[in-house]
Amino acid sequence: MTGQANIPVRVARIEQITPMIRRFTLERSDGGTLPGFSGGSHVVVTMRGEERTHHNPYSLMGSPDDKQRYQISVRRDDDGRGGSLFMHQKVAEGDTLEVSPPTNLFALNPLAERHILIAGGIGITPFMAQLHELRRAGADYQMHYAFRDQENAAFRDELEAACGDRLTAYDGSAGQFVQPAQLLGEQPLGTHVYVCGPKGMIEAVNEAAFELGWADSHVHWEEFAAPPVGKPFRVVLQKSGMEITVPGASSVLEALEDAGLQPNCLCRGGVCGECETAVVEGEIEHNDHFLPDDVKQSNSRMMICVSRARSERVVLDL
C-alpha cells in the first residue's frame, strides 16, 4: 500500500482546546472534496520538518458526512519523538500538510444491540466521529468519558450537547473513575464495548470483559503505539544486501525510508499488520498490537513500524 499519493491539505483552523490539546481543521488544498470515512478511522499525517519528516496517525473526529474538512486533535507529548511538538509549535493556520486516505481499524459493529464507549483523555477523538453515526442510526449507546480534571476535560461541552444524558463524565481529580467490572456487568447480551485511552484503562476493560465471559469479538480497543525511543542498532537486509543503522529516535521503518526504500506500511502504530516482516536473525523488542504472542516469542517476524532490536544487529528478509 505504498507508493500511492497522499492528499495535500491546508490547515484551516487551529483551536487550543486544553493546555495540552489542539484541534486542527484540515481542508483539501488542491480543490475537490476529501474521501468520506467511517467513525473510528484515522489518517496518517505527514509533517515535513527541517530535520526530519514525521508520520503520525490521528483519529478523524469530525462528522463523517462532511467531505469539506477533516478534524484531528493532537495532544502535546514533550517526551515523544517530536511529531506532536511539531504540530503544536511549528504548524500555523494556512500551512500545508499531507494526509493518507482514511483507514478504519476501530469500527463500530453495526449488529451490536448496545454500544458502550469508554474514553480516557485524548482517547475521546475516535468516538467524536462515531457518535455522529450512532445518533444517525438511532442506536442504543452510552458514552463514558474519563479525564484528569476539569481543565483537561477536552470537548466536554460538545459531548454534552451531542449525547445529553447518554454521557457519563468521570473527573479523576474528584475521585471519579470508570468501574469496568460494574459497568460491563450491567449490560445485556449483545452489547459491544469500545475503549480508547491509556494502557491501564484498556487493560482494565479487557480484563473485566474476560472475567465476565464476554466474547472477544464484543470487545474493541485501539491503542496506537508510538515508536519508542531506544538504543541504535544495525539492520541487515538479506535480499538487497544493504546494511543500515537505526538511530535511537527512529523506527526501523523510518530508517529504511531515510535510506530511500519504500517498505509496505499503513498505520505506523503497530495495529494494521501491513509492515509485518520476516526476521532471519536477531532478537526483537516487540511493541506492536498485531502479532500473536507465540509469533513474538519465536522472534520470526516483526512489525518494523514500532518494534526494535534487543540485539545489536538484526537480519531482515527484505
Partner: protein
C-alpha cells in the same frame, strides 16, 4: 506492459441475447479491448492484485466501472434473471448505509467517466440521476429509500454491467452480506449470503494450502477509501451465457457435453472477470465488482498472439483446476480446435495484442 496505445471504444449495440438464440457477439473493436488475462504461455496461479488506478485510454482498466458495447444486452439480461428469480439481489437489513455508499460511488463514477450517457445533479440531498441509454431520469432524496423505485443497491446495480457483492467487515473478517448476482460463474449468492471469507472460498482448490486466502484477507482488511484494487479471474463457458448459476444448472450444465473440435470455435468462450474492490466510505464495507467479459474462440483467434498463447496456457492448467473450472471434459476438443492456429512462434511479453 506494451507501450500505451489508444484503444477504440465501440458504441453501445442494441440488445443481443445471452440465452435461447444466443445472438451475442463482439465487434472487432471489442475484441481488441478484451481483458486477455495471460501474461505468459504457461498457467501460473497468482493472486495478482494491483491498484485499480486507471489504464490505457479506452481499455477496460481506464474507467472505474467499464461500460461497453454490451450495456443494453447485459442490463436486459439482468432484468430477465431478476424477473424469474428476485433472490439474485439480496442485502442484509443492517447494510442500508453500504447500499447508499454503493449508489453514490456508482453514480459519481459513471457520470464522471461517461458524461455522454449519465448525468448526476445534486441540490443538497436532492439528487437527480439521468441514464440516457436506458431512458431513466429519477429525482430522489439521498438517504431516503422511499424516494427510489427499489432499494438503492438494487436500483443502481440494475443499471451497471457486472455482478456486485457487499462485504461487511468485523472481527478482522469479511462477510458476504449482500449482492446483485445474475451473471456468475457457477456460484450462488443465496447459498453464500452471510458466509465469511473462508467459508465462501471453501471450494477453491490449491489456494488454501498456499496461504493465498490468508494473505489476501489481510490485504483487504486494510483496503483504503479511494484506493481500489483489481485482479483478473477466468474460466470458460459454453455458449455466450451470462447466467451460469447453480440455480439454473439444469439449463446449461448439459451444454458442456456438446463441444466438438468442429463447433468449439463458436461454442467455447473464454470468460474473464475484471474484479475490483472498493472500500466504501461511510459503512466501512467493501464493494466487490465482478465484471464479466465473454469471447468466443473464433473471436479470440483473430488476435494471433492470443491464438498462440491460449492453447499453451490451457494445456498446462493442472487437472484439479480444470475440474474446478468445469472445463476438464471439453478441454481436448477446444485444444484440438485452437492448435490449428498455434504455429509455435514465440509470443511477445504482456497481454495486449501485437
Amino acid at each position: 506492459m506494451a507501450a500505451p496505445m489508444k484503444i477504440a471504444t465501440p458504441p453501445i449495440k442494441s440488445a443481443e441475447s445471452f440465452r435461447d438464440d444466443f445472438t451475442y457477439s463482439n465487434s472487432p473493436q471489442a475484441i481488441r479491448r478484451f481483458p486477455f488475462p495471460f501474461h505468459e504461455d504457461e498457467y501460473m496461479y497468482s493472486v495478482n492484485i494491483e491498484p485499480h488506478n486507471g489504464g490505457p485510454v479506452g481499455s477496460v482498466y481506464a474507467p472505474r466501472f467499464d461500460i461497453d458495447e454490451h450495456y443494453l444486452s447485459e442490463t436486459e439480461e439482468r432484468r430477465l434473471v431478476l424477473e424469474q428469480d428476485p433472490g439474485r439481489c439480496q442485502v442484509l437489513p443492517y447494510m442500508m448505509e453500504a447500499q447508499w455508499d454503493t449508489l453514490e460511488l456508482l453514480m459519481e463514477s459513471l457520470a464522471a467517466d461517461y458524461p455522454q450517457h449519465f448525468t448526476l445533479s445534486k441540490e443538497g440531498d436532492r439528487w437527480t440521476w439521468e441514464n440516457r441509454p436506458l431512458g431513466i431520469r429519477d429525482s430522489f432524496v439521498f438517504g431516503d429509500p422511499s424516494t427510489l423505485p427499489q432499494e438503492p443497491f438494487e436500483y443502481i446495480t440494475r443499471q451497471v454491467q457486472g455482478d456486485f457483492t457487499l462485504h461487511g467487515q468485523r472481527d478482522n473478517m469479511l462477510y458476504m452480506d449482500g449482492g446483485m448476482v445474475t451473471c456468475q460463474a457457477d456460484w450462488s449468492l443465496d447459498f453464500d449470503l452471510g458466509m465469511n471469507w473462508y467459508e465462501w472460498h471453501g471450494p477453491v482448490p490449491k489456494a488454501h494450502q498456499m496461504g493465498i486466502f490468508d494473505r489476501a484477507l489481510k490485504f483487504l482488511l486494510n483496503l483504503q477509501v479511494e484506493r481500489p484494487v483489481r485482479r483478473l479471474n477466468w474460466t470458460m463457458t459454453i455458449n455466450p451465457r451470462m447466467d451460469t448459476s447453480p440455480e439454473n444448472y439444469h439449463k446449461w450444465g448439459i451444454d458442456r457435453s456438446t463441444v466438438t473440435p468442429e463447433n468449439a470455435g463458436e461454442k467455447a468462450h473464454l470468460r474473464v472477470e475484471l474484479q475490483t474492490l472498493y472500500r466504501l466510505p461511510r459503512s466501512n464495507a467493501i464493494l466487490f465488482s465482478i465484471r464479466c467479459y465473454l469471447i468466443s474462440m473464433e473471436e479470440l483467434v483473430t488476435v494471433p498472439k492470443w491464438a498462440r498463447r491460449f492453447p499453451r496456457v490451457l494445456r498446462t492448467l493442472p487437472d484439479e483446476l480444470a475440474e474446478y473450472k468445469g472445463l476438464i471434459d471439453y478441454r481436448p476438443a477446444v485444444l484440438e480446435y485452437l492448435e490449428q492456429f498455434d504455429d509455435g512462434a514465440e509470443t511477445s511479453p504482456g497481454t495486449a495484442p501485437d
